[in-house]
Structures are given as structure tokens and as C-alpha cells.
């Protein structure tokens, strides 16, 4: 099951440049939360702070509190431990190109020393089922490489790979921006199903996508969280004028 995420007074920096300013947010367990905002507003930086990917960029720093369930993210715990709980899917599908479909999904488990072949088979099937890809690839699990799939299938493969390590939270950074509308529809359908088992945070430039898949939406601007509310409120009657200007396209 998914767990909630608590963020308190989160600040993030690139060198001396501050990218996030005092972000406070409570993400509900087993719901989808969308983060929207113009380019450079800090939404991707924010999501990368949730699984400590921000610190993989040289000369960056973070302060504040992030808790995934009762797991404290910035309190001496290891990034590896954290990332078992938090899966991530990126803008561009990034399967391991030379690995088979099966090995792509099993990679995370094998990396963690998981060797029980029967159990591995079960988890691979379950993960591919959960990412709505099983029926399309079940006959070529070992024959085809991840790179041989279409863009939409590759993205669902990446979702299966993230699910295989049985995370509690799934972070998605513009997961459909490189996909056609049909593949996008499949991923959105998937998000709807996955939130029964996982907590999902999705960064998207597509406001209609946020409106379709997420129960909660946060609007970022210039590194600040301007508004966080139920999605229907944000898209029908936002509280802040800046949010309204953004969702109605009056920016710029």
C-alpha cells in the first residue's frame, strides 16, 4: 500500500541559486497528486527532492524535512533504502537498451541480490500486469530487448521496472510528454489503477492531464508552492489569482 508524504520547510539550491522556497505539503496516501507550473518553476526539482535525486547533481543542496510514511528522507538514511520505497518514471522512457524485457523488469530486484527464479518470474509477471503491458509482451519476454518496444510500451516497461521493487510511492516526471495520445491514454488509465496500491506524484505540463488523473493539484511558480488544493477546485475556482492566470492561459 502507498504511504503519505510530508514535506516541511523544504528549500533546494543549485549552488547559491535557490530553486525551492519553504515548500510545505502533505501528499495523501493512495491518491494521485499533480504538480503543475511553467518551466523553471521548481516542480521537477521538488519531485527530485522526494527521492534524493536532486543531490546527484554537483553543487546542489537541500534543507528541510521530507517523510515518506514514517521514513525520514534527509536524516542519515541511505539513498538506496529510500529508492526501494520510491519508484520514479521519467519524461523520456529509459529502458536498459540491451537487456531483455524480462531483465529490464527484474533489474532492480537482481541488483538487490534477489535470486529466487520462481519468485522473480511471479514478480515480473505481476509488475507487467500492473503496468498493463503483460498481454503485449508475454510471448517475447526473453526474446525482445526493451529498446525494441514502441515509445508507449517502453514507458509502461519503465513503470513495470519501478513497480517490481514494490515501492510505496511512484514519482512521475512528465511521463507522457514524449508519447502519442493513445499511449498517453493508456498511461493515464494506468495511473488511475495504480493509485489503489501506490501514492503517485506526477509532474505534468499538460493541465488537462492533471485534471484527469489527480485528486490533488499543486501549482508552483518561481520556486514557491502558490496553491495546493483539490484538483477540481484548482481548475474551476482557484483561490490565488496567479493560479487562475496560469490555468486559464493568461501567463506571458
Amino acid at each position: 500500500m502507498g504511504v503519505g508524504i510530508t514535506v516541511e520547510r523544504l528549500n533546494a539550491f543549485y549552488g547559491k541559486t535557490q530553486a525551492l522556497f519553504d515548500i510545505n505539503i502533505k501528499v495523501e496516501a493512495n491518491h494521485a497528486t499533480a504538480l503543475i507550473g511553467p518551466s523553471g518553476c521548481g516542480k521537477s526539482t521538488f519531485i527530485r527532492c522526494l527521492n534524493r535525486m536532486h543531490e546527484t547533481i554537483p553543487d546542489t543542496s537541500v534543507n528541510g524535512i521530507v517523510r515518506i510514511g514514517d521514513f525520514s528522507v534527509y536524516n542519515g538514511t541511505s539513498a538506496t533504502q529510500l529508492r526501494r520505497r520510491v519508484g520514479m518514471v521519467f519524461q523520456k522512457p529509459n529502458p536498459f537498451p540491451t537487456m531483455s524485457i524480462y531483465d529490464n523488469v527484474a533489474a532492480g530486484l537482481k541488483l538487490n541480490g534477489f535470486t529466487n527464479r520462481k519468485k522473480l518470474d511471479e514478480i515480473v509477471e505481476k509488475s507487467l500486469n500492473n503496468s498493463a503491458l503483460w498481454d503485449e509482451v508475454k510471448d517475447s519476454l526473453h526474446k525482445k530487448s526493451g529498446a525494441s518496444l514502441s515509445g508507449g510500451q517502453q514507458q509502461r516497461l519503465c513503470i513495470a521496472r519501478a513497480l517490481a521493487v514494490q515501492p510505496q510511492v511512484l514519482l512521475m516526471d512528465e511521463p507522457c510528454s514524449a508519447l502519442d495520445p493513445i499511449s498517453t491514454g493508456k498511461i493515464e488509465e494506468l495511473i488511475f489503477q495504480l493509485k489503489e496500491q501506490y501514492t503517485i506524484v506526477i509532474v505534468t505540463h499538460n493541465m488537462q492531464q492533471a485534471a484527469r488523473v489527480a485528486e490533488f493539484t499543486g501549482f508552483f511558480l518561481l520556486g514557491k508552492m502558490i496553491e495546493f488544493d483539490k484538483t477540481e477546485k484548482v481548475f474551476t475556482n482557484p483561490s490565488d489569482k496567479r493560479t487562475e492566470d496560469y490555468v486559464t492561459g493568461r501567463f506571458g
Partner: protein, 230 residues
Amino acid sequence: MRTRFQQQMEELREKLLRMGGLAELAVDRACQAYTNRDLHSCQLVLENESLINAAEREIDELAFDILATQQPAAVDLRFILAVTKINADLERVGDQAVNIAERVMDMIELPAVELPVDIARMATAVSAMVRRSLESFVEGKAELAQAVLEMDHVVDRMRDEAFIVLVRTMNEQPQSTQQALDALLVARNLERVADHATNISEDVIFWVLGADVRHHAQTAVIARPESTGT
């Protein structure tokens, strides 16, 4: 800035204002026709109806087009929903004006009798409601719309009073029954126009504030204007 979208929204607003002008004119002419027993005004109301119907279709088509192609959100989405509903109400206002005009055309055939009811006063109040509901739309002011909602009770009372005195007239002066019945039906048409003006005002409040005040679902927290000109 979405220039094309803003142009379409402005076009929608202008079309609705023209439609509002036609509906308002229809009510005023119908009232004038009743007061002056004026056949020419009745004919103008009937001719006006096809323009109102055409305007209704145009507005619906444009709103549908914007919804399908622009995916409006927040205040824009509320505006379009409000416009489509106001559009339907204005068309019904036009229908009520036609009903009054047709009633007057029948009345003119009968001898004029003095009735103990002030339909002209009711007509003035109803016209004012329609005008102010449209003003609240033009100016996007919820407080103007709220003032219209409060006027509805006054018109309801006028209709109830008209009903009582006209039924009494029918009993006491059977020779005037047809004229009294005509006046009663006109009063009912006017009261319905007032209801449509009320609906329009509720839709303006929804557009401006995002609050649903229909059927007393929510008490609008709207500061009364210092002067509404009432």
C-alpha cells in the same frame, strides 16, 4: 496569452449581449403592447422572436466550439457555462414576451374594462430585473446580480396579489371574466420573466464568484453595493 481564445471569448460575450438586448426589447414591447393595447408592438415582438432563436443557436455553437477546442478552465469555464445557461433563459424570456403579445392580440378584440390590478407596475419591475441582470453580466458584478435576486420576491408578491384580486373580479363581474383571465395570464408570464432574470443573476454570481446560489444551495456572501440605484 491565448489571443485567439480571448477573441472567441469576447465574441461570445458580445453575442450574448446582443441576445440580451433582443430579449429585453421583446419584454419592453410586450409590456407596452399590453398597456397601450397596441397591435403594432405585438407584431414587432412576434417578428423579433426569430432573431432571438437564431441568436440562441449562434451562441450555443460558439460556446460548443470553444469548449471542444480550447479546454477552458477556472473563470473561463465558469463563464462559458454561465453564458450557455443565460442564453437558454434569454430565449425563454423571448417566448414569454411572445405569449404576452399573443394574449394582448386576443384582448384587443374585447372591450376594454377597468381592472383592479396594476400590470404596468409589475411590468416595470420585471423589465428592471431583466435590465439589471444583464447589467450584472456586462459589468461582471455579483452584487448587482444579488440585488436582482432580492427583487424576485417583490414580483412574486405582485403576482399573488394580482391572482387574488382578479379571481375576485371574475366572481363579482362575470362579464369581465375574459379580460381578468387575460390579465392574470399576463401577470403569470411576467412573473416567469422575473424567474428567468433571477436565473441569469444566479449564473452571473456563479461565473464571478464560483458560488452556486441556486435553490438557496449557498448563501452568497456578497457585499451589498453602496448604491444599486434601486
